[in-house]
């Protein structure tokens, strides 16, 4: 007797749109997903174990490599944890540089996240536009830090070096200086890139068809599942650790928290990310203003050569590009961290996949993965 059966399909680890090495097992009824199960661990690099055998400053380059698309924010989170543990006062100028870099990094990371989602939905051009603008941030970062993607720029207590001369630029810098001065980039970004994203994709009918109403995430489910960052805000929860649990000097900046509607869908997650880039640009502008007005060269305090934090424990909640980065650091008084736990937002968000996917089409799966914007380096650490 003939019988319809569900089709078990194995998406990944080699698949064009699983953002690295994610493997998702899917059961399909026709094109409709009835069951989804992510399988991770293909990029596990023992970050937590490795950190236990390194000194505190030596861990910083490894934090770059967890969420490799948002390296500065990770460094910042780790440095904040160590500083809180040791009670180090960070120079004001270093704080501003850190915040500015973190927000530029957030723009950079969101650009890639949005671009990759566009690519997954079939809009290849959007992806390449994202890369064009990311390239400009990277050339700025290269001049500031020496690295293009993994910087090792933040130091415990400060930053490695001051901004190079002329990189701030003036508020009148336009598009021609977009990859030479930060002001040039910000002006170019606000006047040119963001409207372009809106024209090309956000207001595109096909794009809206593909994302609106796909995988709605009610706010209470989002909170129960530990969602954070843009995913949580897209569900209408106005919660941003930069505002609600302010760290560093974020309470000195003016910016808004973009939120989606009550049942945030893929489109809301997209819009929230686009809006967040706009808010990050606002923060960068304020930081640039301060940095231009307050020149100085005190960017890192004098610390002992071997850092030995006192015995204790700290948990830092940090608003990374993808959500709440938690650094749980345990010190036993020696030069090496006794335990480092990296609570990664992508790892937590990936749990949502079995909740969000069933009932949607196979093509929506791609949109969902794109909209929660995972980085497998951070999922597996």
């Amino acid at each position: 007797m003939e019988q319809t059966r569900e089709l078990l399909i194995n998406m990944g680890p080699q698949h064009p749109s699983t953002h690295g090495v994610l493997r998702v097992l899917l059961k399909l009824d026709g094109e409709t997903i009835t069951w989804a199960e992510p399988d991770i661990g293909y990029l596990h690099r023992c970050f937590e174990k490795l950190s236990e055998s390194k000194t505190y400053p030596q861990v910083i380059p490894y934090t770059d490599r967890t969420d490799y698309l948002s390296a500065i924010t990770n460094e910042h989170a780790f440095c904040l944890a160590v500083e809180k543990l040791m009670g180090i006062e960070v120079p004001e100028r270093a704080e501003y540089i850190r915040v500015m870099m973190a927000e530029l990094q957030r723009i950079c990371s969101h650009l890639l996240g949005l671009g990759a989602m566009a690519l997954d939905l079939g809009a290849v051009t959007g992806f390449l536009y994202a890369w064009r603008d990311r390239e400009k941030i990277y050339s700025l970062f290269e001049r500031i830090t020496g690295g293009r993607m993994l910087y090792n720029y933040l130091r415990i207590g400060g930053v490695r070096n001051d901004l190079p001369e002329g990189i701030i630029g003036t508020p009148r810098d336009g598009r021609d200086k977009a990859d030479k001065t930060i002001w040039g980039f910000i002006n170019y970004f606000e006047s040119y890139v963001l409207p372009e994203w809106d024209d090309l994709l956000t207001n595109n009918r096909i794009f809206q068809w593909r994302t609106q109403g796909v995988a709605p995430l009610p706010s209470e489910v989002a909170i129960a599942y530990g969602a954070s960052g843009p995913v949580l805000r897209a569900s209408g929860v106005k919660w941003d650790l930069r505002k609600n649990v302010p760290y560093s000097i974020y309470d000195r900046f003016e910016f808004d928290i973009p939120v989606g509607k009550e049942n945030g869908d893929c489109f809301d997650r997209w819009v929230v990310r686009v809006e967040e880039m706009r808010q990050s640009a606002r923060i960068v502008k304020q930081a640039l203003q301060w940095l231009a007005e307050n020149p100085g060269d005190y960017i890192a305090p004098k610390l002992p050569r071997v850092l030995k934090p006192p015995k204790g424990e700290v948990y830092i909640r940090y608003e990374g590009s993808r959500g709440e980065v938690g650094v749980h650091l345990v010190s036993d008084g020696s030069a090496n961290p006794y335990k480092v736990k990296w609570r990664s937002p992508c790892f937590t968000h990936l749990q949502l996949l079995p909740v969000l996917a069933p009932g949607h089409k196979l093509a929506d799966m791609i949109a969902i993965i794109g909209s929660i914007d995972i980085v497998l380096g951070e999922v597996d650490r």
Binding site: I40, K49, I223, G226, V245, P246, R343, F347, T348, D380
Partner: protein
Amino acid sequence: MEPLDIRPDLEALKAAYPAVEIAEAATGHFDIRVSLDQYLDVVRFLKDRGFNYPACITAIDWKDRLELVLQLYKLVVGSRQSPLVMVRVDGLPREGAEVPSVTPLYPGLNWHERETYDMYGIRFQGHPDLRRILLPDNWQGGHPLLKDFVDKRPRRPRLVRHRDTIVSG
């Protein structure tokens, strides 16, 4: 915005479970030390008092024992400086520890508990799907984040050619 005050909740917790030890750490969070048999009740109590956001769950290997650490906080829109509480269960055996799972209360801790099992070998009773998560399902080498973990896999030959082996000429 006033910083969110959770002291009333903690006092209520202390009143309900006198055996619980509550201390404020120097780094800003609150440590709630509970015994294993009260762990689930305390977490349930905290959830009822509005600690709705599961941040993380992990363990610490103190070389002679394991300690389970659960981080929670209140996610209240419009609040400020919501303090973190760490619910700690100390004195778990290093091998074959079993604790009740809080995944039914906080579904977001599902994978974090799996990771803790994967890395420390703590079994979570009542967990819907307790399997290894980062390591392969057929991994036999133990639990890597334990301090005495040794990688017993055969060493792969180094692929680096040493300078003295290069024959010149």
